[in-house]
Symmetry: C2
Subunit: 127 residues, 2 copies
Amino acid sequence: MVTKQVRDELPENADLRRADSLAREIFSDVANKWALLIIEALGEGTLRFSELRNEVEGVSHKMLTQNLRMLERNGLVDRKVHPTVPPKVEYTLTEPGRALRATVDLICGWTNQYLGHIETARDRFDA
Amino acid sequence: MVTKQVRDELPENADLRRADSLAREIFSDVANKWALLIIEALGEGTLRFSELRNEVEGVSHKMLTQNLRMLERNGLVDRKVHPTVPPKVEYTLTEPGRALRATVDLICGWTNQYLGHIETARDRFDA
DNA sequence: CTGAATCCGCGGGGATACTG
DNA sequence: CAGTATCCCCGCGGATTCAG
């Protein structure tokens, strides 16, 4: 991911720009609340759709499927359908997914670490 | 941050629930595209409003101010106003902000590392 | 230059119903 | 149970304007 766009206009860097725009796309996919919460919820284990729905507080049916599709498309989660009745679908993080989860864990850790800090900052600001 | 809500109804855990809901709030604030891109753009340095606007590709005037206010409120960025004319405002990451940035760096690293992986996963899925 | 405020369109996202 | 489709509304977010 490149944040500065100094060398944007050079045609010989077309492939670089392509990779960069792809990176931005992936970043936009991944840097959203529900995606990260789902990844965090999956953890090391395997969860069914309905279990995820319970685990990820406040997520709607629609948002859950939507984000699961997206994560599956990007190869971050593995979707395993058991051809039973009633159907049973299990979701598991792939290797890239687990790698990302490690960083999500860090964000969660960060959140807890600075909870108090942030709360007082808010109080100060709101005054 | 607690992902499971097993012990939600016990009244003696009111403070835990409060901290948890606060954590979720912070997580929702922080886990969004623009906030993370702004944090990443600020890096170790100091940038003016207009510089940030250039640095963070595609961000609108409104989104930038909005997210900067939010980050300032949570104590992640420091806002320094120079009483000159025309006005000059500089934004810098605070210590908590820099700590978070470290994890954002990891996400960026992750993105680049799995770029190819993800691209092929997409191709496979779209077929 | 920075930023608040207003207007407004479009799409995110909830609720619901229906298939397999 | 899991997933898709439809409806529909609210609010995100862009464009623009005005102020300091």
